[in-house]
């Protein structure tokens, strides 16, 4: 089994779709349905290699989660990719500023998401 990926999205179907794509590529996947649970899962698992995160979610949205993770100072090298219907330059800029490494607009092509995940993980490892 490959690296562990945390998928944070309030849609169960989208989580399943991402999980299916990533497990086919031999990644291990864990889920969270909003930013609050995403943060909990992150603190419970010390071997998460990358996070794929929606933006619009109840309780804590994806941008708030990225900002919380990066401002904690504990996960400076943890790459985060946003997967969302949002495409506005303001939000993309905010995510980039907070430390996200990628932005994918839904609906996504599973093979491209896997390629992006692999590429970002390789880049992080090399850094």
């Amino acid at each position: 089994m490959g690296q562990k990926i945390l998928v944070v999205d309030d849609s169960e179907t989208v989580r399943q779709q991402v999980e299916y794509a990533l497990t086919q590529a031999e990644f291990e996947v864990i889920h969270a349905e909003d930013g609050v649970i995403g943060w909990e899962k992150l603190t419970q698992h010390d071997d998460i290699g990358l996070i794929i995160c929606d933006v619009n979610m109840p309780r804590m949205n994806g941008l708030e989660l990225v900002e919380k993770i990066k401002s904690s100072g504990q996960y400076d090298n943890l790459p985060i990719v946003m997967l969302t219907t949002e495409g506005s330059p303001q939000l993309i800029q905010r995510a980039k500023k907070a430390g996200a490494k990628g932005w994918v607009v839904k609906p996504f092509k599973p093979d491209l998401l896997v390629k992006a995940t692999t590429k970002i993980l390789a880049k992080t490892k090399a850094a």
Partner: protein
């Protein structure tokens, strides 16, 4: 599940129809720029059609001549607001239409037993996600002209005998897309405070569906 009144819908026994469909014409322009109401109408029409054509990989014919909720069992709803406008989008489908719009890898694994709780849970979730993705597409198109919509989380419900009870919005944009396994009805109810012409702002151009950026 049946609800007495929900986002403009009410449950009613027997025949349930909505009269006077509005045909949509895309990209009409008058004067400088685009009228905000036309921009919003086109954004929702293109967003809805685009999502279903992407999902089914086939062109989806549009026919607004028979806008009837008879047999429709699912409603997905997302609200939105911006400084210039506010409203909600409701999408209506039957079971088969929701199933056929699922991502192929999920569709292949979904239970074919309608009473299976996992079948109902998947359709419930996906119906809300469809509404979410349509509003997301419309939002990205509208943002290019200035208004930045804030979206609610999606909600969805299953009911029988749904009828559209109307809304107090200033504009109501309806769309009907039909495939052999059913129809998709969408109703965008929008209140526009002051309809006016808007110009495209290149700096606000949003990323398109499927686009991927690495930082």
């Amino acid at each position: 599940m049946q609800r007495e009144s929900f986002c403009g819908f009410r449950s009613a026994p027997g025949e349930a129809t909505v009269p006077t469909p509005i045909m949509l014409s895309l990209s009409s322009k008058q004067g400088p720029g685009t009228l905000l109401s036309e921009l919003v109408r086109d954004a929702f029409a293109q967003g809805t059609r685009g999502l279903f054509e992407d999902a089914t990989q086939l062109p989806v014919p549009e026919d607004a001549s028979n806008f009837s909720l008879v047999g429709q069992t699912w409603a997905g709803v997302v609200g939105f607001t911006a400084s210039e406008l506010r409203g909600s989008l409701v999408v209506n489908m039957n079971d088969q239409m929701v199933v056929n719009s699922l991502p192929p890898e999920i569709r292949a694994r979904v239970s074919d037993e309608p009473n299976d709780p996992s079948f109902q849970r998947t359709l419930n979730d996906w119906c809300g996600e469809i509404a979410n993705q349509i509003v997301g597409r419309a939002k990205n198109r509208i943002a290019g002209y200035g208004p930045l919509l804030t979206m609610s989380s999606p909600i969805s419900l299953r009911a029988s005998g749904m009828v559209w009870g109307g809304s107090s919005s200033t504009h109501e944009f309806r769309q009907r897309l039909e495939r052999e396994h059913g129809q998709l009805l969408s109703i965008a109810s929008v209140t526009i405070e002051r309809d006016h012409h808007v110009e495209k702002i290149s700096a606000n151009a949003a990323a398109a569906e499927g686009e991927m950026m690495m930082f």
